[in-house]
Amino acid sequence: MNLNLNQRRNNFCTAVWASLAVLCYLAVSPLQADFQKGYDEIKPILKKYCHDCHGDEKHKGDLNFEAFKAEKDILVHLQKWFSVIDQVETGTMPPEDKKLRPTEAEVIQLVSWVRKTIDEFDYDSVKDPGRYTLRRLNKAEYNNTIRDLTGVDLKPARYFSGDGGGGEGFDNNAEGMTMLPLMVEKYFKAARDISRHANVSYADGIRFSPDLSPTYSPRSYLVLAERKLTDFYNDIFDTLPKYNPRKEFKPYLMPAMKLALAKPDATDREIYDIAMREKLMPGVFHKWARSFLDAEEISKTSRWDSHYGKWVIDPWLELQSRRDSVTEEELQLFHDDFAAKTLLSAPATGMMTKPGMEVKTEIKEKAEVLYLSVGDMDDGHEFDRIVLHKPRVTLKDGKEVFLGDLELIEKQGEGAIHKENFPDGKPFVSTASGKEKIERGFYIEAPALLSFKLPPGVKAFNATLGIEKSADGKGSVQVYASDESIPFPKGKHTHSYFFSGPGNTSVEAAKKWWVIYSALVGYGKSPGSKEMVDVSLDEQGRARLDSIKREVEYAKREPIENFFKFVKAKKFAHLIKAKEGELPALSDLPEKDRAPPETLSEADQKKWNELQGLAENFQEEMDQGIRDSLLEFASRAFRRPLKEEEAEVITSVYETAIEEDDNFQKAVQLVIQSLLTRPQFLFRFENEGTEKGAQPVDGFALANRLSYFLWSSMPDQTLIDLAKEGRLTDEKVLEQQVRRMLKDPRSLSLAQEFASQWLGFRKILNEKEPDLKLFPTYTKELKESMYQESMMAFDEMIKEDESVLEILDSKSTFLNEALAKHYGIPGVEGSEMRKVELKDAQRGGFLTMGSLLVATSFPERTSPVVRGQWILDALIGGKVPPAPDGLVIDQAKMENEAVSIKARLAAHRDNPNCSVCHDRMDPFGFALENFDAVGRFRKTGPNGAPMDATGDLKGGPQLEGAAGLKHYLVTEKRDAFLHQMAQKQLGFALGRSLEYFDESVIRTAVAELKENDYRYSAMVLAIVKSFPFRNRREKGFQTDAIQ
């Protein structure tokens, strides 16, 4: 049922009716002291003209006037009475062929009595929350819910069908939401697609990523876990400033030496503190400090233990051995000597002594692809250009095939590659070949990853590498060839041949020292150290590191491995089912075989039991983590706490799935997929109360009602927590939450879902398209900007809690250059939308936005009728019945552009059948005639004559253009507008058709608006606190509503 109480009242007050209204109130009011008396008065009219067809005998069109006994009967069947008003007023009823027709006075009497009855009813007396039809998530809600559930905006509903719409005109209307086979198929597919984004780990549980998350075998899982640990440090190292150990070591030496002498047992924390105090890079300082602190220890290892190491280490060890008696001068002397040697030893460039370097890679039998990567040395890839001399593969029979003759399957990386010669025909020149000419060469710029198709029977790949001449001495690269897939080269790329241009390395000893030096303080590596990271982490970082380490522990499965090792050592290996090379799962040792055999010694039995306990606890801890995160996910997906049996089902589904395949990631994805196809996710269920009648909904239902109203999405943790604590139903808390939610970015959905449908600007996205031949400036970008203007204006009203009257008229709007130009507003540059203050009254408010002017036009011209009807219908809630069936319109006359549109539409006024409605619509549209079909301002019409933008409201003021129209709406029609907006907002909030008793909420909302400077929040709060929003019909509820 569609309720339009106020619209009726508006009609009533509209100037067209004003004179009649005064008349009839004078005539009728005294007689309508109470309902029955008035009803008795009009009964004879009904009987005389209507009962023939609409009485107890016959009730055509399901209308029986004799069945209406009491006031409520009429209100409950409001829709029928509206239809009565429409049809009697327009003379549609009684039908033309009836000779007996009511007089004008009788029509007025009947109609005004119905209106008065409707208007004066005490709606507050009806405590009916209306029907809460079980609703599924609509497309927008599905997308948003997945976004908030997974943290990733996957937009899976983009392939869903549209939702239809109904009630107050919104696609969240529950009654029209069918569940059809094709849609359910899509839900299943979407669930599957979404579940593939679930990244599952023991330590972190379920996390979603924008990319598909592959599942891994236990062994790969371990590799990845370890890599995560490396990456954790590397990511931090990557943020450190660049450091050149060759030039920037000096500030570190003295503090490191002093610390080593003063505090031989210094901890990492102390090292870190000194670094901070001295403003040194902790990682670098740590390396130096440890080099001196632990010199004796280190000297026993290969790092110091060489002839060249001793060159500098022995004097230090001597100092350290008498650390208490070392004088300042001695230390300074040692320091200077050390620094000088280091400086001397540092070679100018790399380590190559002769140009060219042979590369040889063995190729496995049956290998099909050769991968060749060229990467930098973690120092950027400027000048990293190499030339391959004679790159070739050798076949088993000794034959050689040049790389240039192999098929290049793929090239990753943006740098150039050339074969044979440069594109201009010049030959490559490099260090690769010495003096000879480069043969069948390749020129490659790092970073690059190439893959070539191998012919059968390849044994090896050979090439001579060199730096291209222009980059000689500047470039440093790593090249790696392999028959196995290798990653794209990006820094810290190990397996490599090291190469650089020739350098000045005359002192062999210095070179060796440099090797030692690099090993100690890391040449070419980042100036970080794990130890320093460990001591410097904040709480969050610490937790992350712990979780990664835990992950590695889980992935290693050491307790299980230990247990299995012991079992094997005791010669019970045959009990274990694990395959060679696989990581053990506890289920590889069946439960019945887990108890220690009696043949074992008591000590061994004890050890067995102990290890078994550790293994089982370990397994349980892992499983528990996964189960917990699944249940947590399920509870969020269902948007309320799980019922015990639901939890049981979910756990057992997981366990069964994992028993089939020892892959917890796959199992979790399967469970997620199944959760997302369940009605508890797809529908918005509310717990049914135990009491009868109308009862308050529980906190979780309220949280959901709130979030789907204000965010078109699931409730967040705050709402759920408040619901758990039972506090959300508290009116103060509720108000706080509403205010918080309106400020939240997610409330953009009110512009996107509510306003765009109510005001109709959504139509320009894919419904209303101007004729592009006539309006070539209406580009996609312009359309998008128009849509954004409306969205941003409405969103700003919400976020700033402005007056809702801003919708009708405003001093500012949102524009970019394209839209401003379209509007003829100077001084806006660039494509970004921004707030612009408006200088005149022509623009401002939604009436004059391009989006709505387009949405209310025909493709080729404006339509004052459509615009007028939109204002009447969307903004002030005046309804007009659809045009009668079988209208014959003289199209040729209608489209004659020689005559102004106003003159063409004059026919509406001449025919009383038309004028009854068009007199109410057309003048509004005329007032907007200064805006063409794409929303541009115009002073003249298509026929060249000055545009007449005046609308003569019958019995009302003459509207002078858009400014006059807006002024009229803001002043004269303010109440009607407020009522209409509140009604639409309520319809959207409840997601159902409105009933007669909902008028109570609408009236409260309007009153609240008026008391609070028309602030948007006042209306929302009135709705949220209202009876229907917070209550539901329980079993046995008696309603007099039709639905």
Partner: protein
Amino acid sequence: MQYNKRNWALNRRTVLRGLGGVSLGLPWMETMLWGAEKKELANSPLRLGVIYQPNGINPYEWTPKDTGADYTLSKTLRPLAPIRDEVLVLTNLNHDLKKGRDRPTSGHYGGTSNFLVGNGVKRSMGSDIQCGVSVDQMAALHMADQTLLPSLELSTEPEWTGVDTGERITQLYGNSISWLTPSTPLARERYPRLAFDRLFGKTTGLGDTRSVIDLTLDSIHDLQKKVNQEDRHRLDEYLNSVRSLEKKLEFSEKNQRPVPEALLKGRIPDPGKAKSHDEHLSQMMDIMTLAFQTDRTRVATFMMGRSSSGIDFSFVDKKCGGLHGMAHHAERKEKLEGYQIANEYTVKKYVEFLQKLHSIKEGEKSILDNSMILYGNNMRDGNSHTSKNLPILLGGRAGGRINPGRHIEYPEDTRLCNLYLAMLKRFGLNIDSFNESTEELPQLS
């Protein structure tokens, strides 16, 4: 609740497998394919297809000026020339034009929903939509369980949402010409690849969905008991849909012969949107062809545009623009010109579809011989929105029960439902009336 975990999924599947003996109706594919006996081919099933085009036609250039087998092709129908012997041009058919203001039968929204029904739609804001069962769904119901999908619904444009407040009617009526029940319009697939995958994808595009269905269905019984009567209706709708999905997967597991790769080669659409409207139309009609050829379904409807379609036809000719804009031609020459070109283009696409069906042999006959392929529009003139004397074509021979190649002019205001009744009877339904029909449309055979 005691939950026996070992019982959940696999057993369910076994149960289903155990049902294997119960015949679902031997799909015709089993006997037909590649090298089947000729006498079996004589029993080829009939197919029913609908190609729907919105926004009317240029009323001045559609109807041929004379009737009978030797009629002269009108300008718009000229593309029919190569296949005119296989098509009927039917004039003066339309639905009841006036059923009262609360029961529109024409217009953009009501007219679309009503096109294959005839009852008109209830003027509803969405809470109580109502039309009737459409002719394609009557046919699909008749064929239920014979094929992978009972019917295939395709489209090209995103759906309408919301209500037309002026007309006081939900725009949902503008989205579908297929009605499963008087209150359920069917959703349509507009992405060619998704439509293709539904028919031919590996496990019909759903992967291990089968086991997920098991899991899902298993956990719902409890829920069903708890919800109230009204909500149970929604839940049932969901369950029935899940079951029909299950049925589809089950059907494809048990009965579906794999389609030879060679047949599908080069015909798999790219994911996402089609590159152009022309490609979109071709791909969808190719999918319909494949679906008929491999007996994935026997009933298919395709909306080349939704009601009030704005598709830009300038790719056909520079004189064309957006369809809705052209349709409102206002009797202007330059607009009618573009409109006319677009009309001819859509007829041409229909002809291409018929030719394709005609080129595929089933024994002595072609698929087209065993089909009824309706082409129609719910408006005659897109400018005035008049729905009298709709443009209707019927391609195919219905296995010999239709004698095409003629232009038949019926008395003015003949019920379109009479044609639908005639089609359904030929399709094998034993019925005497269909919605608003007054009699079976004569002269077709």
